[in-house]
Amino acid sequence: MSHNFTLVGLLLIPLVGSLVVFGLKKNPTLAKWVALAVSLAVVVYVVVIGIAFDTGKGADRFQFEGDWIWIKAFGVHFSFGVDGIALVLIAMSVVLVPCVLLASWNSFDDPEGGRSIANFFGLILLLEVFMIGVFAATDVFLFYVFFEAILVPMYFIIGSFGGPKRQYAAVKFFLYSLVGGLLMLASVIGLYVTTGSHTFHMAELIGKVPDNATQKWLFLGFFLAFAIKAPLVPFHTWLPDAGAEAPPGGAALLVGVLDKIGTFGFLRYCLPLFPAASKWAAPTILVLSVIGVLYAAFLAIGQRDMKRLVAYTSIAHFGFIGLGIFAFTSQGGSGAVFYMVNHGLSTGAVFLAVGLLIARGKSRNIDDYGGAAKTTPILSGLFLLAGLSALALPGMSTFISEFLVLVGTFTRYKALAIVATTGIILAAIYVLYLYQRTFQGTVSEKVKGFKDVNAREVLSIAPLIALIIFLGIYPKPILDVINPAVKATLSDVHETDPEPIVGTTAGGHK
């Protein structure tokens, strides 16, 4: 067992940082700068890991593995390691954190009701610890611990710093996730008992679950937990509430990162551990995904609350991700992982942009705005770019991932792919319609006094958009990291890509 401390170090930096920031309650300015410095240090650390990550042929799937015994009686290990999928998701998460900090810089300056900025930034850093942990854990038990523990900081972020209905939203968020988590716990225990291997280590559990009804039950436990977390329609109702009531920074992390844990869980745990059950359930999940794409898009179009609208768009996007994962093709899988990264960056940017607008108008209601582009041209530009990335405009990285997902699905499930494609059009409608109602048109009274964004606010969104455009033009570095891991996952499910039919049948090209 190797004892590589790289990933433990990655966890420790934000953990120590969060403790320091909690301790700096008396000096909010210093707390803010410390938090920002810590989050940037984490970004640098991850970039170094990314450069050192070996993508060559024959490279280990999991790298930087470290393993220590935690609870001997249960065979639980404190073990970490990243494959390409985990690495890009960690990278996406840690990039979002400094942006969120910057965007929330002056949010809670009024010391109303014990809302201290030091607490908020400390919670964000604590959340970062768990986000990294949940992606980097290679022990199912440890993963579960992070999966549940992450609820606590997010619960306090929503409950302490959220909107008027924050108590309700925080409890709803916590309970939904907890119910899912407990079902997963049942499956985790069942996994341990049925495999009889006295370990929770991922690598040693793959292929050990007998192919029978038990596998299906265990799969369902994991699946429901992830479907609630992702969230997949019809398990999604907590997200619009939580997303709307969370502070914009918290919402960006909630939808951008926390929800990825669900889709990540499908790929990392459901598919390799329960291959037969995954195939058994795939048709249902695919149909639910497509329903999600369309249903959530229609709801998004009808929303009047900006944050709820963004939350619904995310549910639509999760439909695409689910489609890519359960199509069991390498394009679909790679597309889904790339989609997760892009969606984190893109939704993060949208939420932050919406947050900047709300901070000016003190209202989430779309009808209160109008013509804001006149008074805040730069914000309007940022908002539009973020919105375009959400609707997967060619040239943006989101387009590539959406395309890959649809191609990957089409090779196996033509009808579903075709129906899902209409989701792209709906996306254009809800994004542009939102933009039109808020930034275009007659200038409303409210908007007249708006100040445009300052340098700090630009700096909180611009890096995300820059990344989206860069990856839209040159996605190779990310895809190179993702592809081997996706292939390995598919081989765990014993799936290969269907033979291309182009050219073998008449009329393949027109």
């Binding site: 609870i71 001997k72 009701g113 549940e148 907890l178 407990l182 225990i189």
Partner: protein
Amino acid sequence: MSALGLLLAADTPKIPAPHVDYAAIAPILIVVGAALVGVLVEAVVPRKERFNAQIAVSLLGTVAALITVGVIHNKEITTPLPGAGGPTFSGALAIDGTGLFLQGTILVLGLLATLLIAERSVDATSPIVAAAAVVVGSPEDRRLSRTDRVQTEIFPLLSFALAGMLIFPVSNNLILMFVALEVMSLPLYLMAGLARKRRLLSQEASLKYFLLGAFASAFFLYGLALLYGYANTVDLGEIFKATRTSTKSDTLLYLGLALLLVGLLFKASVAPFHVWTPDAYQGAPTPVAAFMASCTKVAAFGALLRILYVAFSGESWNWRPIIWGAAIASMAVGAIWGVTQTDVKRVLAYSSIAHAGFILVGMVAVTEEASSSVLFYVLTYGFTTLAAFGLLTLVRDADGEATHLSQWSGLARKSPVVAIIMTVLLMSMAGIPLTAGFIGKFYVFKAAWHTAGPLVVIALLLSAIAAFYYLRIVVMMFFAEPPEHAPTIAIPGWSTTVALTAGVVGTVLLGVFPQPVLDLAQKAAESLVG
């Protein structure tokens, strides 16, 4: 010389004096000794000095007993096998690994409860009444309540109860078990009625607890009698043999077992025998409620473990459905009724009912792992519950403890430390990872999975419901506005501070580094299941 005398002299078989291994029963003797010394202290020490003298006696007794348990454990001065007729009192006591673990747990929790009762700086004088026999509301009562007099008899009562609890889970003989049950219960009935504030409520709680407890004892005794009729013995090991070989009617066996279970489930506050719990916990002085919720439960589950695993392990097919039913009922009652409560003490009471259900889930699998998971769970539960009750004593308004939920709103603003500690404890009760409660739940569910998979899933779903009301308290404390007359947070004295710290540190440590205690529990369980 009468004929009768001659007859007796000739025919009476010689009863050999049972061999007594004094080392093995030293912890029990020490605690009984402390109780007796406590009674003497009442008689000879002047009233002014009594309180401190009593604290010293009971703390010394408990600590000494705890050290003795540790020594016995390390020296392995244990009787060979339960039911094999060990040397101590002809096998009436089984001081085995399981018993020692339970005794250790009870003593640690009892020590912390003693510290909570010893608190004098939070309340005007003490949470304990000045003179229990004085009529409530009489001029004398009002006069005394302003003095610093305290009914110090509570300390010997506590020691007697502890002694009963120490015997209860190691008794290997139904008669002895019944005696232990009474020794531990009678002082508890009295202690429940000794609250300084809201005395009528306290006395009502005491009376309810006594009446229902007396019924439960009667059930237990009736069951004992029927089982004696079936097996011709009260020894657990012999009963086990009888269940294998006896030709007597099984009706006697089943009826006897059922009645025995009623008595034990009552003590463990398992639904449907739980109705006394919320009233008793609410009315009793909070430190006494802490003692009842933690130590009584440990002792009761210890005894249940011994009865089911030693005497009736061969009958597990027959009692398992009952335990299933009781577990589900208890978890459901605890979770669902708990949601409707508005008083923090009653919430904790329903939480303890729900926890009793979770412990029963672990008990359905008759394996070594199952018994060690039960041992571990009762320990984690005891720490958390004790600390939670201890914390309740600190949140006060003019009338004493402020236990209504609405009074807890916005508490985090007043005292972030208290709110954070309470949150940690509630998270542990809800079973969130990195707390003791999670490891405990995980362990019992893991142990039960093979025998009772569906039960585990039901338990998990019900624990999600229970999580709702724990969460509601957290919401109140952190996210709600404080009421107009917000309660104050008392600064605890040394004894409460020690007890609280131990409870919270235990809750966190057992959640993060459970391995040493898991080892102990595993080793302890080896003795019970052959």
